[in-house]
């Protein structure tokens, strides 16, 4: 168990090294002078030269890479060109709404999708199953910004239960901030639940026909116990994979949702950085997102080990 965890950690380190390399290379191969691109068409030659100097673009490429890589190892992602603060600081300021948004959305998605998927499979062909299938297809096909706008219209504008956008004022309490996250999290969660529902249903249909489920029934236990303890736990192995995938998708889904709901999160930071060509911020955000991807995968792998004894040996 420890050995496989260690193996996976080494794998993670390799993946992250590749990501850093790719991010570095992408910026260098962008056509044109990055400094000129960043500063736009109105920049003077002196401005460009001083930015090149500041970004260290005059040094040989391997030296640049070592400098960049060394910085990342020390937690130095460079300096934001527009905000004039370290990239790590800029990311950190925007981390809270994004973090809670994705966590809540994932929790909502799982809380909706797992029971609905399990019951759909158990009552396959029933009215419940058909309704759930239709709703899941619907949820998968509507864009999140549209659902967000509809929720906003109903729950914020007409019912007045929530503010239409933002994250509360500068001095807002934690409860107030979380209150602002309800609509975005529900929007993102419901849309993400579609994929998990479909997978849960398929995985349950598979295992419900397995021999050990019949064995469990022959022991004289309740259907609830058969389904949850014997069938669902086996179905969980493929379901975990898709939850991991969803978590990864949520990170990009959060960007759109944050923009719709005017949340000052990492997503809107990335959007504005792209608009302003703030390359150090884009690079830093890419690394953080990739790092989260890898971390989520690692957590899923560890959960596999916990659930399935066959992987453990």
């Amino acid at each position: 168990m420890l050995r496989s965890a260690l193996n996976r950690l080494i794998g993670m380190a390799i993946v992250m090294f590749l990501v850093v390399t790719i991010v570095f290379v992408i910026v260098r191969v962008t056509p044109g002078d990055p400094a000129a691109v960043m500063l736009g068409p109105d920049a003077t030659a002196e401005d460009i030269a001083s930015l090149r100097e500041r970004l260290g673009l005059n040094a040989p490429i391997p030296v640049q890479f070592l400098t960049y890589f060394g910085g990342i190892l020390r937690g130095d992602f460079g300096q934001s060109i527009f905000l004039n603060i370290p990239v790590t600081h800029a990311l950190w300021l925007r981390a809270e709404p994004t973090f809670f948004l994705t966590v809540f959305a994932l929790a909502i998605a799982a809380a909706v999708a797992l029971p609905v998927g399990v019951l759909s499979a158990y009552w396959r062909g029933s009215a419940f199953d058909q309704a759930a299938t239709m709703l899941a297809m619907f949820a998968a096909s509507i864009p999140s910004f549209w659902l967000g706008l509809i929720f906003m219209q109903i729950f914020a504008v007409q019912l007045g239960w929530f503010d239409t956008s933002g994250y509360g004022g500068p001095g807002a309490s934690f409860a107030e901030r979380m209150h602002h996250l309800v609509l975005p999290a529900v929007t993102l969660g419901l849309i993400s639940s579609a994929l998990i529902t479909r997978f849960t249903r398929a995985a349950m249909l598979d295992v419900l026909n397995d021999d050990y489920v019949r064995t469990a029934r022959s022991k004289g236990m309740s259907e609830w116990r058969v389904v949850v303890r014997h069938a669902f736990k086996n179905a969980l192995i493929p379901i975990l994979t898709v939850i991991g995938l969803t978590a990864a998708l949520l990170i990009s889904g959060a960007i759109v949702t944050e923009t719709v709901f005017g949340l000052p999160g990492v997503g809107s930071l990335i959007v504005s950085a792209v608009l302003r060509r703030d390359y150090p911020v884009i690079q830093g955000a890419l690394l953080v997102v990739a790092g989260l991807y890898v971390l989520v995968n690692f957590v899923i792998d560890m959960l596999y080990l916990l659930v399935d004894p066959r992987v453990r040996y």
Binding site: T215, G220, N234, V307
Partner: protein, 337 residues
């Protein structure tokens, strides 16, 4: 509902059908047999003859659209009360399964849950039916592993199924099935998936456990060699119907249905099948094939393949009649065979 005092299970004219949109698969369509207390009744028949559907009907484990259409399944529990399982609700079955009737299956490789240790799975069976602490359940599970003669039982208690061989897993299944001392054990081809030496060991073990625990066994198989090893009585099934029931010695001495006769001729026999030069002769096989159960002829289902057939066989389904000292047969010419 009357049942002889020494009969534990009596299936009477059971019909279990799978009703589709356009056709009805009569998987079991007239199964009748009696199982005596403490004895082993073998159910034999080709693949698709309805053996598994019969046993699942008894356990109440039929999957939709399978349902009991008519007939009785009389079962005598440990308090000597007689129940008709054909009319049982799932709730009633839950109290019965595992405690009064337990079952082992053909596929030892897939019949245990891969995510729990064998100790957990045996202990779960006991905890389901008796108020017992986890440590007590574990102790009882270990005891059961010893009963089924698993070497180093204490060391195997925390093994997962994938760490065991097929024969060991089938022993675990048996340990689990017998953990609550059920009065009836249904074994659906428990040795078919195992190789011959392991098969013999498992049969031997079942026989000894029967002496020890005193349970009755409904033993499903398509192998007449296995029948000779373990059974006291035999039921022969063809296309969802019982065609013959007889004590095992009587059956091997004299068959009262042409199908049983054909089955026996198909069974390899070391001495008989070796020719004078010690070469194996071509094995006899019954010509023709089983009619589709969705479209059975009105008369005897075996008639198209039968060497004894006469026109009368085609008119109506022959009833089960007394054909020998203790045997019954569904053949109108049983006395001439």
């Amino acid at each position: 509902m009357t049942l002889d005092a020494d009969t534990i299970l009596s299936v009477r004219d059971l019909r279990t059908w799978f009703k589709g949109r356009h056709s009805i698969a009569k998987a079991v369509d007239g199964v009748t047999f009696d199982l005596k207390r403490g004895k082993t009744l073998a159910v034999v028949g080709e693949s698709g003859s309805g053996k598994s559907v019969t046993s699942l009907s008894i356990m109440g484990l039929l999957a939709r659209p399978g349902a009991i259409e008519s007939g009785q399944i009389l079962f005598r529990d440990r308090q000597e009360r007689v129940h008709d399982l054909a009319r049982f609700s799932q709730k009633q079955f839950r109290a019965l399964r595992g405690r009064e009737i337990a079952m082992i299956f053909q596929e030892p490789m897939t019949s245990l849950n891969p995510l729990y240790t064998v100790g957990d799975q045996i202990g779960e069976m006991i905890a389901l039916h008796e108020p017992i602490s986890p440590s007590e359940a574990r102790k009882r599970a270990l005891e059961m592993l010893r009963h089924v003669e698993i070497p180093d039982a204490a060391g195997r208690l925390d093994d997962y199924p994938h760490q065991m061989s097929g024969g060991m897993r089938q022993r675990v299944m048996i340990a689990m099935a017998l953990a609550c001392s059920p009065s009836l054990l249904i074994a659906d081809e428990p040795t078919t998936a195992l190789d011959v030496t392991i098969q013999a060991q498992i049969l031997d073990l079942l026989r000894r456990l029967q002496d020890q625990f005193g349970m009755s066994i409904l033993f499903i198989t398509h192998n007449l060699g296995v029948v000779a090893e373990i059974a006291h009585d035999v039921v022969v099934m063809y296309a969802g119907r019982v065609v013959e029931q007889a004590p095992v010695m009587e059956l091997f001495a004299r068959q009262t249905h042409p199908y049983t006769r054909g089955l026996l001729a198909c069974t390899p026999d070391a001495e008989r099948d070796l020719g004078s030069e010690g070469e194996r002769q071509a094995l006899y096989s019954i010509p023709g094939s089983v009619p589709p159960i969705t479209d059975l002829p009105p008369g005897c289902a075996f008639e198209p393949r039968c060497g004894y057939a006469v026109p009368a066989c085609r008119n109506a389904l022959p009833p089960l009649v007394k054909a020998g000292e203790n045997s019954i047969s569904r053949c109108i010419r049983s006395h001439e065979i």
